[in-house]
């Protein structure tokens, strides 16, 4: 089959690789009909997430048709149309039974790598996202092996198009969970979203769905800000305005009640702090560039929530912790517990509350994907979200 393969920092390519096979009785094989490039794939492209190996198949946002199931799979059968969460969960461990699927104890075969870096504990495995997160082959391919097939995949029985349900695999639940984590008081709370990429777009719309009085989106890319503005958000271009001043003004000096950092570890930012972050990351002295996080802590209102769907990888410094403490902020963060959001969010799509396909700007084949990785990274050509058809 054809697959998008990581070939080293800043190198992805299309290769012909063996078709996946069932490795365990709880596995299923999915023929992929649609797959997407995620903003977090760019951290892999840039080489800032450790433990990638040449030859790894990328991709964690995919859906398709079940073609084969292991003998212990009970809920799926060949022919079923499914969306597959990007995180892999066993469904039986204590975190899974509490709905904390991305914190699964059992799905990461390489738990030792994550334990070494993250204080002796490992989260669950992820598709196509480094060996530290399990080394599972990803879904930017024609077929994929899906472990724990009774737990993750969710059947789509309505006639919604792929593009309307594909983002249930990651970015819609990720944006939604980020907004849900804020504990928005409907009609009262103002929410600011840093980063108007796909997750930021879904976070902003989710904050609206959850009743935020006002949503402000911060970015520097005009077409991304325009997309947020079209949804009724106020926008701030941080290259044109001083973010902290603009947010104070927009909130009557209080600051946003909750701030969502949908940027994560590769913030562009500007000013001396951003330059120092970039230099340290290049020299491998630091994993993360944290302009967005600093702004989040500095701008958030007293008693507010800083919610982090953006990915962070390691140790960071120059965090304005004093500001966070003085204001009594609450931090909420982490990988998305996708499995628990799919059914309720699918109901919202079916009810017409939201059509997630708004975010798609580029449609392409696998052969065109390596070039589109760079278009997406460089934010050229108005690129916000790329959907790939593996059979085109």
């Amino acid at each position: 089959m054809k697959a998008i393969v990581w070939q080293g920092t800043n190198k992805v390519g299309v290769e012909t690789v063996p078709d996946p096979t069932l490795l365990l009785p709880t596995d299923a094989i999915i023929k992929i009909t649609s797959t997407a490039i995620c903003g977090s794939d760019l951290h892999l492209l840039d080489g800032v997430i450790p433990s990638m190996e040449k030859g790894d198949i990328l991709g964690h946002e995919f859906m398709g048709e079940v073609v084969e199931v292991g003998r212990d799979v009970k809920k799926l059968k060949p022919g079923d149309r499914v969306v597959v969460p990007f995180n892999i969960a066993c469904g039986v461990c204590d975190p899974c039974r509490r709905g904390l699927f991305s914190a699964c104890d059992n799905s990461n075969p390489n738990h030792r790598m994550a334990e070494a870096l993250y204080g002796g504990v490992s989260g669950g495995g992820l598709f196509g996202y480094s060996h530290m997160y399990g080394g599972y082959a990803g879904g930017q391919a024609q077929y994929v092996r899906v472990p724990f097939a009774d737990i993750g995949p969710h059947k789509i029985e309505s006639d919604l198009r792929d593009e309307q349900v594909l983002f249930l695999t990651d970015i819609f639940p990720t944006g939604y969970q980020a907004a849900e984590n804020c504990g928005i008081v409907p009609g009262r709370d103002v929410v600011a979203v840093f980063g108007a990429g796909p997750v930021g777009q879904f976070a902003a719309r989710s904050a609206q769905m959850l009743g935020a009085a006002h949503v402000i989106v911060v970015d520097r890319v005009p077409e991304r800000l325009a997309m947020a503005e079209a949804a009724g958000c106020q926008v701030i271009n941080y290259e044109q305005d001083d973010v902290l001043v603009a947010l104070r003004e927009a909130t009557g000096g209080r600051g946003p009640d909750h701030v969502i950092d949908a940027v994560g570890m590769e913030a562009h930012g500007h000013g001396p702090g951003a330059l120092v972050d970039t230099a340290k990351q290049r020299l491998k002295l630091s994993f993360d560039r944290i302009t967005a996080l600093r702004w989040a802590l500095l701008s958030c209102a007293k008693g507010g929530t800083v919610s982090l769907p953006g990915v962070y990888g390691g140790l960071i410094d120059k965090v304005p912790m004093g500001a966070a403490f003085a204001k009594g902020l609450t931090f909420k963060m982490g990988q998305t517990h996708t499995q628990r959001h799919i059914a309720p969010l699918l109901s919202r799509i079916e009810a017409g509350e939201i059509d997630p396909s708004f975010v798609v700007t580029h449609r392409a084949s696998l052969d065109e994907a390596p070039a589109l990785y760079k278009t997406f990274r460089d934010k050229h050509d108005g690129c916000i979200k790329v959907v790939l058809n593996p059979w085109a």
Binding site: T21, L24, T26, C93
Partner: protein
């Protein structure tokens, strides 16, 4: 997982655990023999430094020598301390780890009590032969071939605790215990393993083993996670044999 029904009451942990030697401390105590070797080398270097005519040599040799003497005097190996190797005054290494498994203590205890089945949990164990009610023979794979010793069960409290100690003359003298206690909130059972052993080449051997990765602390972690997954899932998650750009080019298997 059916674990809400048969929760044992928490065992009296303090009683069962209190007889573990508390002479262990984080950091490393060099045994007396190592201290005397290090001290002798240090004194020799200091002497060579003082005799040297070249000022740089004087400083370097004298400094290193003085450092080794200080090391021998304190009896603490800074490298072992940095690697978080825990040793007691007798030069024995302590290793412990814990995992919470979503099953009742009695079931988990039964798996550990079946000594002959332990090699399935601990991959570095070649085999355990049960010789009589209390005594067993343990065989491990080592770079030099197989090493085996005999051990006695020293405590057996069904559903709560199992302890053992190697008999006199074992190649790698060791003793240890496994505790089983109810996790709060019906989360199953906390399984705590404590091992104490005398590394074949003293502190230096423990450091080399830690640095080369063939070290009981790491083996224990892997073994406990394998145990948890076998109990909760019935299998180990794997990516062995999956497709990648590293595999031979070609079509379906």
């Amino acid at each position: 997982m059916s674990q809400d029904d048969t929760q044992p009451t928490p065992p009296a942990l303090s009683d069962s655990a209190s007889d573990t030697p508390d002479t262990h401390s984080t950091g490393a105590h060099m045994p007396a023999r190592e201290r005397s070797v290090v001290g002798t080398v240090g004194v020799a270097l200091m002497g060579a430094g003082l005799r040297s005519a070249r000022p740089l040599q004087k400083i370097v040799l004298g400094g290193v020598g003085a450092g080794l003497v200080a090391l021998a005097a304190t009896g603490r190996n800074p490298l072992a301390t940095a690697l978080k190797i825990r040793q007691n005054k007798e030069g024995e290494v302590l290793v412990s780890d814990a995992v919470t498994v979503g099953k009742p203590a009695a079931e988990l205890y039964a798996v550990w009590r079946d000594l002959a089945g332990l090699p399935r949990l601990m991959t570095h164990l070649e085999r355990v032969e049960v010789l009589d009610a209390g005594r067993s023979r343990w065989t491990v794979k080592a770079p030099t071939g197989e090493v085996s010793w005999e051990a006695d069960i020293t405590a057996d409290e069904p559903g709560q605790r199992l302890a053992w100690a190697s008999v006199e003359g074992a190649a790698v003298p060791n003793h240890g215990e496994v505790l089983f206690r109810a996790a709060p909130g019906h989360r199953g059972t906390e399984v705590v393993v404590r091992l104490t052993y005398r590394p074949p080449a003293g502190t230096a051997g423990a450091i080399v083993a830690r640095l080369t990765g063939e070290e009981p602390a790491q083996q224990l972690r892997d073994d406990l996670m394998r145990f948890k997954r076998e109990q909760e899932l019935g299998f180990a998650p794997t990516t062995e044999g999956q497709s990648s750009g590293r595999a031979p080019q070609g079509g379906a298997a």
